[in-house]
């Protein structure tokens, strides 16, 4: 009875945790109007903390909340995985009833090795694999696939219903009170949606092979917490009352209860879900303090061997070497515009690919990159001004970045820090190439002293009459590269004005 109650509490905790995740996710785009930190889950994520601090070679105070998670794991085992992790909960809820659970235990080592690889790489200053963090995975999928997909369907339906005029009063009420607070009217499009979706779908599909496949075999955070949980104070124990009915091993979501070992389990795998205890007909299972303290759990055949760890280190070196021979090391791609202030930090080393900046960007101009910055920078954010500009009065990404890859500069500093430089293509620009009146770029420019100037030119029009037109020019010393000009440029397809990376950051020009 007590076990069933505890299991119920665990289930409620999971729902509450996922609800909190979604609430933070939804309010993240409210641009600081809410006191809640949208990156709360990241702050409690020790994998993010460890890799960010190793790679950034600095203690990041904001990430020290993760010590709470470590402490909880030392006390109770992988409670994060079983009780808190919203991605773990999603996987639990999406487990088919007919999961086969027949995969060999050996594969459990993969998550430990992935964890070692991420740490080794971080020590070497590479964060290419950081996108495998479970919070990051769920945030990215929610940001670029699930939420915008839902929005598309909802607004599509709304658009259809708006065809019927008599429905407008009702639709207006729904739009104002429900849809606008949820979606903020942002029409989201993401270049990376399909690959992100496929990755997510594969992780979900793996649930058919084994329940919580990701958590058992792959999750590097699970690996980290598993290693810590080997020293857990409170552990699952089976008493002599056990009648070997096998029910516990059947319900165990991580499949760690081994009939051959007297229904014992590995604290590195157990998520403390209480399912086994609730199912036990004779109360032969207990989660008890384990004495003597600090004694490591019994080693398992799938624990990482020394040789495997050495191999992981060697593999990491190989991966880092591969990253080192990508062209990105020599030159910045001309359209790889990073979030504001990123030119001030060693951005790709500190960026965790967590996608929180992408989520909060109110214009949705920040996009998780694919291979625009090389394979090693997969899912790092970049500004695509044709999709959305860097809004002059917004510093949402600056305030939300959990690792400081986007440095925490003031809004005034942000408004003066160039992220790129606009450049006009005079072969496409209407006043330049078509002798047509247009000044949209100049009009949009948000700077107190406009970075686009209009030059008055007298020309003769097609009918021979004299005519005055205004040709825009970019003032290089004023432009901050926000891209609002490119976004609004009325020329179809590629804009006639485009933001490119700053010339000064180009190692080729600076002669390095």
């Amino acid at each position: 009875m007590k076990a069933k109650a505890t299991r119920r509490i665990r289930q409620v905790t999971q729902i509450a945790s996922f609800g909190l995740f979604m609430a933070l996710f939804v309010q993240a785009v409210y641009l600081g109007q809410s006191p809640l930190a949208s990156d709360l889950f990241y702050r409690f994520d020790p994998l993010i903390a460890a890799t960010a601090m190793f790679a950034g070679r600095a203690i990041k105070a904001g990430l020290l909340y993760s010590l709470v998670t470590i402490a909880a794991s030392i006390l109770f085992g992988r409670v994060w995985c079983g009780w808190v992790c919203p991605f773990g909960s999603v996987l639990e809820w999406l487990t088919p009833k007919y999961a086969r659970n027949e995969i060999t235990d050996k594969w459990r080592v993969v998550k430990f090795l992935l964890f070692f690889i991420l740490i080794f790489a971080a020590v070497l200053g590479n964060q290419s694999g950081a996108f495998l963090d479970p919070i990051s995975l769920l945030t990215r999928t929610m940001t670029t696939v699930l939420w915008p997909g839902l929005r598309f369907l909802v607004y599509g339906l709304e658009g259809f219903l708006y065809r019927f005029d008599f429905l407008w009063p009702a639709l207006d009420a729904v739009n104002t009170n429900v849809l606008l607070p949820l979606f903020q009217g942002i029409e989201s499009v993401f270049i990376a949606s399909l690959p992100v979706f496929i990755f997510f779908a594969i992780v979900i599909a793996l649930n058919r092979i084994a329940e919580r496949f990701w958590c058992r075999y792959l999750c590097p955070l699970g690996g980290f917490l598993g290693l810590v949980s080997r020293f857990a104070v409170v552990r699952r124990e089976v008493t002599k009352d056990c009648i070997s009915c096998d029910r516990c091993s059947k319900v165990c979501p991580t499949g760690t209860i081994d009939a051959a070992k007297g229904y014992a389990s590995d604290p590195a795998e157990c998520t403390v879900c209480y399912d086994c205890m609730a199912e036990c007909p004779v109360n032969a299972i207990a989660f008890d303090r384990h004495f003597p303290l600090w004694k490591s759990a019994q080693s398992q055949e799938y624990d990482p061997h020394r040789r495997q760890v050495i191999l992981a280190a060697a593999g990491t070196l190989g991966g880092v070497a591969l990253a080192g021979i990508e062209p990105i090391r020599r030159r910045d791609p001309v359209r790889l515009i990073r979030p504001p202030g990123a030119t001030l930090t060693n951005f790709t080393t500190v960026c965790m690919r967590c996608g929180e900046c992408v989520r909060v960007c109110p214009t949705q101009g920040l996009q998780p990159s694919l291979i625009e910055g090389g394979w090693q920078n997969l899912f790092t954010p970049r500004l695509v001004p044709r999709i959305g500009y860097c809004s002059y009065n917004c510093d949402a990404c600056i305030r939300t970045c959990p690792t400081g890859a986007i440095p925490h500069i003031s809004k005034e500093a942000k408004q003066k820090t160039p992220i790129g430089l606009a450049s006009i293509n005079t072969d496409r620009c209407l006043p330049w190439a078509y002798d047509t009146l247009c000044s949209v770029c100049e009009e949009m420019c948000p700077l107190p002293e406009k970075a686009i100037t209009l030059e008055e030119v007298k020309i003769s029009a097609k009918d021979g009459q004299p005519m005055t037109i205004f040709r825009p020019r970019v003032l290089r010393d004023l432009c901050i590269g926000c891209g609002v000009c490119e976004y609004h440029c009325p020329v179809g397809g590629e804009a006639a004005i485009q933001v490119q990376t700053l010339p000064s950051t180009n190692t080729f020009i600076s002669g390095v």
């Binding site: 809004s391 009065n393 009009e443 948000p446």
Partner: protein
């Protein structure tokens, strides 16, 4: 397998079919605003089209009541008071707003970049006062809206101070919904004969246009007529023939009342502003039922004549109002 299972499959197919049909219908829905501009070659819709046009009655022409001014200019430090006096001088809000009317006020909230002191967005006190006057005149509903081009509507409404002022006065802010723009004919248009307008604005009983007078790169000034660009989609394409096209928009929207906020005017780096050195404190509000006359007076604040500004002249040429300020009765009030 039992019959039960087959029925389940059938159920599934029926449900899937219904959902599929729903999705298909949703896919047929009118596309919302383009995320990216269309090619330039598509810019000029020369042939008037009648499909999807709205059946909207033309705005009533309002004859100035006897004894009242055609145009009023109020000056003074209290923005609320000069707004009230300017409206009173042209016959009071009751002249425009009947009991139970559905009113939309269209200020200029172009971006969320700066607060109203920078004179890029309409003064919130002027807007709030107008909302109070409209409510007092017995309007059933007062909505205030604009379609900012920089930052989100929500943040621009807040930052401009207009949201708070409107809510305090008992009005509503509406975030303009992409689904509520409809193609509408412009029967009197000379260049454009059809455009996508915000349907509620065309349908409203009374539209009150509340521009702020400020500098603008191509058109020199943005005033009442230019402010109507916030009522349409595809603004970028207006620029190709901006003066005539703005005049064409005026011929369709026909606001009942134009109140030019010249409490602060922006002399340079418009329309977005950002530099207090470019701002001039005039403490002036202009009110007139005739948008051309209002704009024409507004132009004089910058040392121009109405005929110097292309779209004002184009609107006058179309017979949409009076350009010649010497021919109308102007009441100047100092508070």
């Amino acid at each position: 397998m039992s019959d039960e299972n087959e029925l389940n499959r059938r159920d599934f197919l029926i449900k899937a079919g219904l959902i599929g049909a729903g999705v298909y219908l949703a896919g047929c829905a009118k596309q919302s605003a383009m995320p990216l501009p269309t090619p330039f070659s598509d810019v000029i819709p020369v042939t008037p089209q009648t499909t999807g046009a709205l059946d909207v009655k033309p705005a009533e022409t309002i004859e100035p009541a006897t004894g009242t001014a055609y145009l009023s200019v109020a000056r003074g430090e209290d923005a609320a008071e000069i707004t009230r006096r300017a409206i009173a001088a042209i016959g009071g809000m009751e002249r425009f707003v009947k009991n139970g009317a559905n009113v939309i006020i269209k200020p200029n909230i172009c971006t969320d970049y700066y607060t109203y002191e920078f004179a890029a967005t309409t003064n919130p006190v002027v807007v709030g006062t107008l909302v109070s006057l409209v409510m007092a005149a017995g309007a059933a509903r007062v909505r205030v809206m604009d379609n900012p081009f920089g930052g989100t509507a929500q943040s621009a409404y807040k930052r401009s101070g207009i949201e708070d002022a409107v809510k305090d006065a008992g009005g509503e802010m509406e975030v303009m919904n992409q689904n509520k723009f409809r193609k509408a004919e412009i029967p009197d248009g000379l260049d454009i004969r059809e455009w996508s307008f915000y349907k509620d604005i065309l349908d409203a009983d009374v539209v009150i246009n509340v521009p702020i007078a400020k500098n603008h790169g191509t058109t020199r000034l943005t005033l009442g007529a230019k402010n109507l660009m916030g009522t349409i989609l595809n603004r970028g394409q207006i620029h190709a023939n901006i003066h005539q096209r703005i005049a064409d928009l005026v011929s369709r929207v026909k606001p009942a009342l134009t109140v030019v906020d010249a409490v602060r005017i922006l002399m340079n780096n418009g329309p977005t502003g950002g530099n207090l050195d470019d701002v001039k404190l005039l403490n002036t509000v202009i009110a007139c039922a005739d948008i051309v006359a209002a704009d024409s007076y507004g132009a004089t604040l910058f040392g121009f004549k109405g005929s110097d500004i292309g779209y004002i002249k184009a609107a006058a040429d179309m017979g949409l109002g009076t350009l010649d300020l010497s021919s109308i009765k102007i009441e100047e009030i100092s508070v």
